[in-house]
């Protein structure tokens, strides 16, 4: 029976997963000015590692950890040759990496099913006797748990001296180096962290969809993530998540819309064309995105807000 709420919730779950990708790109691009045009590669690595391990009946916590570690490690390894150079070199290398990684999983059947892909990946949390809605809600809880964790990590980083260094590197590498920051190490570290977060998103994605195949990881995924960050607002974590919601909502609504508006265009074509136009428009007229980067001193960060709240909760619990 029709249940549009499920479709909406499904979109919410997707937005959560892509929100994590968007956060990780925000960390790389928004804070550090690293042009990672190969996001999809790390997403794919995470998904595949999770798929392989989940089929071997490892628990979610283990394979999610391994997935992010492997993705982070590959990210680190491949970015090393390009990180010392200008950002366009990283961009080109990463685009190429995305294509090559796809080639590898496609051709090495022993590794991950090759062109067949892998299916039958069990969901992370299995509770017997739940309805579809309840199961979806469990998934959403899991995904949003991870999203919140990533958000907190990103916020903590942004509001720390580490984040300050990243911003310095973003604005002026020479300045950062002249003031004692090992630019290369910071970049590599951030790239690895961003890739690890993407890997975690990939793990969530694999267990949510239940299948992985090389055809899921096309370069357009990367472009959507870029779209999310640029639309939402680089160097603003809330903006990055918001961007994920907007883009996912945009994709879904264009699929729904085409049933009621008799457009002579293919919906997927239209979707891509509009997305591309929107990106160009945003880059042109509002490069800072919908939510601007906030210029606040470090000491007015998240923790200052959280601490009283935490205290209040503590006293409430004790009383």
């Amino acid at each position: 029976m029709p249940d549009p709420l499920m479709y909406a919730l499904d979109a919410v779950a997707y937005a959560g997963i892509f929100g994590m990708l968007s956060l990780s790109l925000n960390l790389e691009y928004g804070y550090t000015n690293l042009a990672n045009f190969g996001k999809v590669a790390f997403f794919m690595v995470g998904a595949y590692v999770a798929a392989v391990m989940a089929r071997m009946k490892y628990p979610f916590a283990v394979y999610a950890l391994v997935a992010s570690l492997v993705a982070g490690f590959i990210g680190l390894l491949t970015s090393l040759p390009a990180l010392r150079l200008r950002e366009d070199f990283l961009a080109i290398t990463m685009i190429a990496l995305g294509e090559v990684m796809k080639l590898i999983v496609k051709n090495e059947e022993w590794l991950a099913g090759g062109v067949w892909g892998l299916s039958g990946i069990p969901p992370a949390v299995v509770v017997q006797g739940l309805s579809f809605r309840e199961r979806l809600l469990v998934q959403i809880a899991l995904i949003y748990g991870c999203l919140v964790a990533c958000y907190v990590v990103c916020e903590l980083i942004a509001k720390s001296p580490y984040g300050r260094v990243l911003k310095t590197i973003r604005e002026d590498e020479l300045l950062a180096a002249a003031y004692g920051k090992n630019v290369f190490r910071y970049k590599a570290c951030t790239f690895a962290l961003g890739s690890a977060v993407s890997g975690l998103a990939g793990a969530l994605f694999a267990q949510y969809i239940g299948t992985v195949s090389p055809y899921m990881f096309e370069p357009t995924v990367t472009f959507s993530v870029w779209m999310m960050v640029i639309l939402g607002g680089p160097a603003n974590n809330t903006g990055a998540v918001l961007g994920a919601f907007l883009v996912e909502g945009f994709h879904r609504s264009s699929r729904l819309l085409k049933d009621y508006i008799g457009l002579p265009l293919d919906p997927i074509n239209l979707q891509v064309m509009l997305t591309a136009l929107l990106v160009i428009t945003v880059v042109f007229y509002r490069p800072q995105g919908m939510l601007k980067e906030r210029i606040t001193p470090l000491d007015r960060g998240l923790l200052k807000k959280l601490k009283p709240m935490y205290r209040r909760v503590k006293t409430w619990v004790r009383s």
Partner: protein, 253 residues
Amino acid sequence: MGSILNTDNLVKRFGGLTAVDKVTLNVEEESIVGLIGPNGSGKTTLFNVLTGVYRPDAGKIFFRRERIDGLQPHQVYIKGLVRTFQTPKIIQKMTVLDNVMLAVRNPGESLLAALFRRRRWMGFENRLRERALEILRFLGLDKHAYTPASELSGGQMKLLEIARALISEPKMMLLDEPTAGVNPVLAYTIFDRVEELRKRFGITFFIIEHRIELLMKYVDKVYVMHQGKLIAEGGPNDVMNNPDVVKVYLGSV
């Protein structure tokens, strides 16, 4: 007093162009040394070589009797050699205070510390903030401490750069045109502060400057550079009367 920075036949080439040509110089501790020369004579390149931005093609650099040529910029910084830039490098999207504080090596600058051991660096951060505010007060910028750095005027940006260089407690500072684009009154203030800093903290200064008349009032020694070579050195008066220098300046005008 010994020398703090000296170089030995330093060479830096770009393609066919020799930007720094066999430069040998010597800066005494706790002195203020000027570096002048016409545009394109290689002054900023020399600074870049000294601070590790460019690797020299030949020659040696000693800072406090230690070889520093071939080190990365951040390693040079750790040795206590700090520089400012010709066009002030200000992070527009940070507050003035953060712009100053970024100069200090902070235990919170590692990824793990940022995530887990926050309490450890927060104390450091608080102390650092006090110190930064103090330095801003000294340079008259304390009113703007919490405003975004993009709202400062050009002269204030220069001061901010000096503040940033100061907070790291350097042994020696390389100032690249500290008064470029600054009104004359502020320019004198800047040099007064430099003088004061030298006296108070014993910092050595090496300054590129175009306002020669201003520079000469403060420096102990001047180097003149032309087409990558040092063509003269000595006290302010000696240099100004050196025929080579006069020729260079008249020739270039």
